[in-house]
Structure formats: C-alpha cells, structure tokens
Subunit: 417 residues, 2 copies
C-alpha cells in the first residue's frame, strides 16, 4: 500500500515503464505538497515531469536548471517570481489560471500558507517609510515613466481599483465611476475645499474640480506624476482650482471640508497610521468628511514578499483592525466601510489585457525581463483579489461630533438616467 | 487677578452681596470643572446654588443632602444615576437636554472623560459572560416581564436600533424597515436557512419567515422572550418555518445560508469574540452571508459604569478594531460596515416618548425608583448616540472564498413604490 507523503515521493507505479523519480523531482514534489499541491505540472531541465497528485494541470512550468530549482526550494515565494522574470522558469498555459491555481491551493493548505507568509514577512522585512525612505520607495514604482503607464492605464491614468457599476463597463468608465463613487461618499459640494493625500497623476483632484466645483490641494512625492498632473490642470483650465504640491502627506497643513486618500495607505507603513489619522483629524473642518481607499487583508499578514521586494518596496496591505489604528486614537467616527475587492480583479484584468497588447513597446523601453516581471505582478494580483487573498476597502469617516449626516446611503445610488 | 481653578473656587466677586461659597459648593464646583463645566445648575439642600461659569443652565439638579453630594464626589459616574433613581437628586428641566449637556461637556473636556472612563472601567469591572454568567446577566434585563416591554416597545417588540428611511417614519415603520434592511444586506432568499444568535422576542426571525420564506432557527437564553416568540409563531402560523431554541449561541450547530445577530454582541463579552467568529464561520454554508448588528464605540472604552451596573450587567460596546477580533482569526471577509448611530437616537426618542406616557402603569408594576432609573437610561442613551459617545455598527461578512457577491450595494436601495 502506498499512501501519504512516502507514496508521493516513490516512483509512480501506475507507469512501471517510467524511471524512478529523481531526487530533484522528489524535492520539488515535497515543496508542491506543502503548497497544497496546485494543479500545475513542472518540467525539469532534463525533461523529467512532476505532476500534481490529482486533476488536470492548468499550466506547465519549465525549470531551466538545478540552480533555479534549488533557489525555488529555498525561498519559493521570492524565487518563483524572480525565475519567471529572468526566464529560468518558463510558463506554458494561461498565467492567470496558473496564479489562481496556486492561490487556491494555498488557501486549501490553510495555515501553512499563513505560517510561511509570516516567516517570509520576517525574512523580508518591509523597507521603512521614513520621509526619505518613502521618497525612495515611491520613486522605485511611480517614476518608471509616465510613458510606460500611459500605455496601459487608460485615459484617466488612474492607477487604483476602479468601480464597475456593471461588469460590462469599460476601464475608463469604471475609473470615472470610481471617482464619482468617492465624491458621492464624501458628499462633495461646489465651493468646498479638499486635501488629497497621494494624488497619482491627478485624475481624482481634477475630477473633483471639474465635475463638483471643488478647490483641491493634492499632495504627492512622485515628481513625474506631478509634472503630468500639472500639465493636465493647465490643459483643462483648472489651475485656479487645483494645486499640486510636491510634498509628503505628513506636511499637510490647513483645514478642509474633505480629506481624501485613494491608494496611498499601502505605502504609509503601519508605524505611521496614527500620524495619518492625526493629520486627517486636524485638517478636517467642522462637518468635514474623509475617505481612505486601500488594498487590505482579511487578517494581518505581510504583503507577498516578491511583490514587496520587486514591485512595491515598503508596501503593506492592512486588515480592518489595523486600519482602525488610523481612526481610533482620535475618536474619528467610521461611517461606512465598503469592500470592493472583485472590482480590483476586473480592473487588473483590463490592465493586463492592455498591457499584453503593448509588450513590444514596453520591451523596447525596458527589456524582456521587465515585461515578464510586470506581467506576473498583474496576473498574480488578479488571482489575489479573485481568491480573497487581498481586499479593497473604502472607509468613510468624520469627526465624532458631526451630526450633519444623511440617515441612509441611498444618496450613493442615484437613479440611472 | 483671579484666573484658573483658584478663581472658580473663590466667591463670585461679580455678586459681592452673595455669601462666600461653602466648602460643599466649592467641592462640587471642582467636580463640575473636571467634567467640562456643563451648563447645569445645582442646588444644595440648604438652598445654595452652584452655577456653571458661563452660559444659561439647561436644567437644574437639586441635591437632597450632604451624603448624596459626597457619594457624587466619590464616584460621579455611578452615583449620579443612583441618586436620580432614589430621588436624592431631583432634576428640574428637560432630562434629555441635561444629559446632552453633560455628554457634550465631557467631550470638550477631552481625555479627562476618557481617563476617568478607563478608571471607572477598572473599578467596575464588567461581569463575566460565562455560560451561567450570561444567563444571570440576560435574566437581569430581558426577563423584567414581557408586559413591561410591551408598554413602550411598539408593535414589533424589537428592542434594538430601528432604521428610519426618513426621520418622519414611525417607530413601528422604522423597526420593520430595519428588519428589511438587514434581510436585504443578507440577500435573504426564499427557502434559505438562517440561524439567529440572540433573537429577542422573535420579531426578525418571524419577519424572515413571513416576508422572505426563510427557515429560521433562533437562539435565546431569555425564557420570557422565548415564550412570547413561540406564541407569536403559533399565532402567525409560522411554526413550521421558525424554531425558537432556548440555548446559548455557543451551542449553535449545523450549517445555514445566513447567520444573523442583531443586538446580542453587546452581551457576548470581548473574551468570547473569537469564539463567536468561529461559530459563525463553521455554521455558514458555501456562499453563506452573516450580519452582526451592535452598539459600538469610536475607540475601545468601557460602557458607562452606571449602565453596566444597573441596566446591562456584563455588557460592552466594542470599537470596530475590537469587533474585527470576531472575523480576522477566521479570515472571514468583511463586506460592508454601516454606522447608523443617529437612528438609535431617533429610536430611543420614540421609546422615551412612549415610556413617559405609561409611567403610572410602570410604577404600579415596579416602583417610582424603577421608573426613574429606566427614564435616565433611555434619556442618557439618546444623549450618548446624539453626541457620538456610542455608535451603531452593522457588519456584513462572508467566507474568504465567496465570490457570489453583488458588484454594488444598489440592491439595498430599491426604488420606492
């Protein structure tokens, strides 16, 4: 009788003609079992195949050499992405399906994934978000060049989760709908003042001015993004309403009717949450409203180490209990939390589709390794949001003593024209 | 020059004819300054008046004797309510306005209120919610007699925050609207199964069966409530759809499409939150949804000690970070949080109005002390919700891997007929 782990390391007796599995294959098999045995086939450099115990593989991964395998065995979370980036791991089949299979198996494996995640989090401690650390971290990602992002982000240049009134909405429609959803949640009115912490390419700030008649001060520490945003303000004749400030959110001063931060919290660092909340409290005028939109988690857990290392240095996706450390020290009152994670899966699918259509131009800008690295980041993020490994929280808050509140949230859902 | 505390303890030099304040008056004055100097006038047993430093008093409090004053000085949070209950403190003017003034001054006093709350929390440690402790705690409040609650809760006998589609809704309309709001949030469909943890007099369980065709198992440890609920089920011909179980929520077994708990969490005790979450996770079928509706706080803070002692033994109102301890250990995914605290102020105003109209009957059931105690509880709760000292959170959650989710919350707001 062959049962359990031993059986899986033994040769496949259903195919007596097949050679006994090599030590390489058996080590890989053991790793895969620890990962919940995803339905993925691996091929070693010598042609040897390592198949899942059950089910048809959704994709196949070719490992170029023993060094790549051993790197994978040592640190799979980091080295899978690195191997794919360099081409030492080649994937045949649908990358998104592969990533979904890996994420789903990890969930089934249960706390195994959690524990290894914890371990990885310790091994790969996120970089600190001091003032200069934040500049370095933000520069790493957002200053890759406006030309790069323009190729696949769409008209709005919004690089955060969109909001799909229906799944059939286009990316641009959903990004504009997101801006309106945010403005409605904030009950933004003409003539009101807004401070935005982290403004990307300025799309929301300009939308607030153009569509709502708001006066906006928008902070960002990415110089390339700000240059683009200022040019857009000039082109749109909105310079008198929108001021783009190249500075850290920690230097926000003044009082405003609205505080908005969409997709910046991921870069703030948990050690700065209370400070962010203090800033939000101090800058809100009487009856002021705030909104923080961020990638999150169902429970405290470090970001995937490959993402934190290669894509978003210093980033962290908080659970709601962690996000509450922004608000609770200052008695800010949380009015509304909406989890729109499936919208991020849709957004990322749109981004990946556009990205794939311009990989030749991206390869010319950077190189093939870069093309693969970013493809994996987009595909892996689709899988993370579709499997619930990541969440997307929008939190609306106000001062404790603000009673100027609508009774219901019906105003968020005006009748369609 | 007289400034600061010393000046306030000195005689009022604007009224040279007035006698120098007694030591009693000066001690009381010091207490009131520590409370943020609410706009309330106090009268001592000898006719001496202690007025706020500024502003017209909204109400006047007469202190019967020195023993009452000294009790108040020693433990104002507990003894104010006790003195009002026994009649040793008599209030002239609007009780709700008085309580609003006290709550608002406490907020202005800032951390003073927080620190003294903490201290009081330590002095008056909440009673434990072990199995037998819960029975005693629940019996204390909910088994006062169905006849008592029937006098003022309205048709639905719902004893939790209602939901006012408009501020003009009646209490009964708002209670039914609350049940529908909860059922919509849970996306309850005909033929689905529900387990309810803490069902009061059974109103929601019967509503789910009657209006949605659901099959409900509803748990409660208050015998009087269950007797009433069973009689209602029989009267409505819903016995085949609703089973009322006299048992602790910790003994819930089975799997259901929906887990609902409205107004029970306040009695669960923080030490049992993770256990409650485990039960919710274990009992949810694939694609199952859960909702927990609870009084809450903007930050962790003990319940007002008089309320915890005299009205709700063992009760606690959690902050959102504390509520997340229900969900995060089990990776339950929070989909939606709505804060409807102003609805509880409206609900309580309706309850108090009805209560005042039947105090003669309540005095005949209990006594005058009871009438006053419960009046203060209702009036104080109005003030707590109107000033943001208390919140009301509805949290919707599901399993991590449930993707059977609507994209938007528009379905919660169907067009009015």
């Amino acid at each position: 009788m062959n049962t359990g782990l031993g059986a899986r390391l033994a040769p496949d007796t259903r195919h007596p003609a097949r050679a006994r599995a090599s030590i390489d294959a058996r080590l890989l098999r053991r790793l895969l079992i620890g990962m919940g045995d995803p339905p993925v086939e691996f091929r070693l450099w010598n042609g040897e195949r390592v198949a899942p115990a059950a089910g048809a593989p959704v994709a196949s991964v070719a490992i170029a050499d023993r060094a790549t395998l051993f790197a994978l065995l040592r640190d799979p979370q980091l080295r899978f992405g690195d191997g794919y980036t360099t081409g030492q791991l080649r994937i045949e089949g649908d990358l998104v399906q592969l990533m979904l299979a890996i994420y789903r198996s990890g969930t089934v494996a249960g706390d195994g994934g959690f524990v290894s995640g914890r371990l990885a989090g310790w091994m790969h401690r996120p970089r600190r978000n001091s003032f200069s650390g934040s500049r370095d971290n933000i520069h790493h990602h957002y200053d890759l060049g406006n030309d790069f992002y323009r190729l696949w982000l769409g008209e709005t240049m919004a690089y955060t989760c969109a909001y799909y009134p229906t799944a059939a909405a286009t990316l641009d429609e959903a990004q504009v709908a997101k801006m309106d959803h945010v403005c409605r949640k904030l009950r933004l009115r003409a003539g009101e003042t807004v401070v935005e912490a982290g403004c990307g390419w300025g799309g929301l700030a300009l939308h607030m001015a153009r569509r709502y008649g708001a006066r906006v001060r928008a902070f960002n520490i990415s110089r390339e993004q700000l240059e683009y945003a200022r040019a857009q303000a000039q082109r749109s004749g909105l310079e008198h309403l929108v001021e783009f400030v190249e500075d850290d959110y920690r230097n926000i001063t003044g009082r405003y009717d609205v505080f908005a931060s969409v997709g910046m919290l991921e870069h703030v660092g948990r050690e700065n949450y209370a400070e962010l909340g203090r800033i939000a409290r101090d800058c809100l005028a009487e009856h002021g409203r705030g909104l923080i939109h961020s990638i999150g988690r169902n429970r405290p857990e470090p970001l995937h180490p490959w993402i934190e290392r290669r894509i978003f240095p210093g980033a962290y996706a908080p659970s709601l209990s962690e996000m509450m450390q922004i608000f609770e020290p200052w008695e800010l009152s949380v009015l509304d939390v909406e989890n729109i994670r499936l919208h991020y899966a849709l957004t990322l699918r749109h981004w990946l589709e556009r990205y794939e259509s311009v990989t030749d131009r991206i390869a010319a800008m950077f190189d093939d390794n870069f093309v693969r690295m970013w493809r994996l980041y987009l595909a892996g993020s689709i899988a993370a949001f579709e499997t619930g490994a990541l969440q997307l929280f929008q939190v609306v808050f106000t001062a404790r003593d603000n009673n100027d509140l609508p009774l219901t949230r019906r105003f968020l859902y005006p009748n369609e024209s």
